[in-house]
């Protein structure tokens, strides 16, 4: 199992550790609910070094990324980021990713991009990208830095805490923008982004600097009641936002329109992998759709539970579900037929053999508080 640069810190803090995507990661330090609420009310620090950081550079970087992703990479001016997808030829998904265009270095190298990918997919993604890079030969450099670290600071007090360590004016950094910065004197790629629905930042740094940056943030955030946050709360925070998680809402059997991700598929940009399959899919009636639901009856829905109709017939599957610490309700996401996907629809969740009533609701379940760009 791979260990992040912060592994010893997590263990010393008494975290419960689990294997996730091939990495030994903290699932919780105190309790999941407490960590969840700390991020919604104050600030939380996440070790997300398991996420893959792939740098794509060279004169052909733009053309290459246009071909392998669904979003329009040409829209990325220096310092901008976008959520995107790596589609397969059949329109299903190899991964979901964030692509950021690095600030221009002023040379003749062409643009540089940082592609952040899921931990469990990092090795496969790298092979996938390299396999599709062949036609671009020497004009493209793809490198994966496995020793790099990534730390997320999330919550309404994030900016106030981070500003004490960063000379750059953070207020000028907009949502889904990145910049080169220094945190505690160490060089980082800093972005205003995250996976919680709160305002916050993600910090890419060298593995050797991770402990120093982490501990400094913990110290500076102490008065603001900053807490370290494990993968358990990371999951409930993203579920309340209905953000997809690869392997749950999306995988090699689901296409982005079913997942509600049509907004990151830009047909107008030109040719890309999976484009013709997705055009065909868009022209056909939707077989199923991802819907949010809340439990009305007594019972907690969980990942993989069957979704039933009023007669007890199976109509779908829960992809992610949990008690929501913010709402004190049991919520979830599920693939259901189009006819049952509208908010207000009555569905049933098969909880250990018993059909428990649930209702389709609008997502996100909790209003997001990310920074609104002017």
């Amino acid at each position: 199992m791979k260990k992040t640069a912060l592994n010893a810190w997590h263990r010393a803090a008494g975290a419960v550790m689990v294997e996730f995507g091939g990495w030994d990661m903290p699932v919780s330090y105190s309790t999941l609910s407490e960590e969840h609420r700390a991020v919604r009310a104050a600030a939380g620090l996440f070790d997300i070094s398991h996420m893959g950081q792939i740098f794509v550079e060279g004169p052909a970087a733009l053309a290459f990324l246009q071909k392998v992703t669904t979003n329009d990479v040409a829209a990325l001016t220096p310092g901008r980021m976008q959520y995107s997808l790596l589609p397969a030829a059949d329109g299903t998904l190899v991964d979901d990713i964030v692509v950021g265009r690095l600030p221009d270095q002023g040379g003749t190298e062409g643009p540089g991009y940082l592609v952040v990918v899921n931990a469990a997919n990092a090795t496969g993604d790298l092979a996938w990208l390299k396999a599709h890079a062949a036609p671009f030969n020497g004009d493209l450099r793809i490198r994966h830095d496995d020793s790099a670290a990534m730390i997320a600071l999330q919550g309404p007090l994030s900016q106030a805490i981070l500003q004490t360590l960063v000379p750059e004016a953070l207020d000028a950094l907009a949502y889904y923008h990145l910049c080169h910065a220094s945190v505690a004197g160490r060089p980082v790629i800093l972005s205003r982004s995250g996976y919680t629905g709160e305002d916050g930042f993600e910090i890419c740094c060298q593995g050797a600097h991770a402990s120093e940056i982490w501990e400094t943030l913990m110290t500076r955030g102490a008065a603001s009641k900053i807490q370290p946050i494990g993968l358990g709360a990371r999951n409930t925070l993203r579920l309340e936002m209905a953000y997809p998680l690869y392997g749950h809402e999306i995988d090699r059997s689901i296409h982005p329109l079913e997942a509600g991700l049509g907004w990151v598929v830009k047909m107008a940009k030109g040719e890309f992998i999976g484009r013709s399959a997705l055009e065909k899919a868009a022209a056909q009636p939707m077989r199923r759709r991802l819907a949010g639901f809340e439990m009305l009856g007594r019972g907690v829905a969980r990942d993989g539970y069957p979704v039933l109709d009023a007669q007890g017939g199976r109509i779908g599957t829960v992809t992610s579900a949990s008690p929501s610490p913010s709402l004190n309700k049991n919520i979830g996401l599920a693939y259901v037929p189009e006819a049952s996907a509208a908010p207000g629809s009555e569905i049933f969740i098969d909880v250990r053999g018993k059909g428990v009533e649930a209702r389709v609701v609008k997502t996100p379940f909790v209003p997001p508080h990310v920074r609104k760009n002017k």
Binding site: S28, T31, L32, H36, V300, N330
Partner: protein, 129 residues
């Protein structure tokens, strides 16, 4: 908290206390409720349900996960402390007292192999993580 010495324990962290010949109280250990932490759901069997030793009789859930509850003995449910299905605080704070789960009318089967409190505390210390 050391396990009370007036009862016996399963490897799945249930306790059973023989109250009188043929009748017993069943609950979950302090170690278990502390390990589960965020309890959000408890499902107990109804009165009259037949339990089989070391087979699941109910479910307890945290925010993160679902855990089966296993019967420390065979018998019939004489009473279930259904108040605990809504009162996780009492269950967490007093699992050996007010947080009991079931009263059982024991079958005539012998009890399965169980641990006394000393063996159980040692078992918990060794399985600690």
């Amino acid at each position: 908290m050391p396990a009370p010495s007036d009862r016996q324990y399963t490897q799945s962290h249930e306790w059973i206390k023989i109250d009188a010949p043929g009748s017993a109280t069943v609950g979950l250990s302090d170690f278990a409720v502390k390990a589960i932490k965020d309890i959000v759901f408890l499902e107990l069997p109804a009165k009259g349900a037949k339990l089989q030793a070391l087979k699941p009789f109910g479910v307890i859930e945290s925010v993160k996960a679902v855990f089966d509850l296993f019967a420390p003995a065979s018998g019939v449910v004489a009473d279930a402390n259904t108040a605990m299905q809504e009162d996780f605080e009492t269950l967490s704070k007093d699992p050996y007292g007010k947080g009991w789960l079931l009263k059982l009318s024991l079958s005539t089967d012998p009890l399965p192999p169980l641990m006394d409190s000393v063996a159980y505390d040692k078992f918990c210390a060794e399985s600690h993580h």
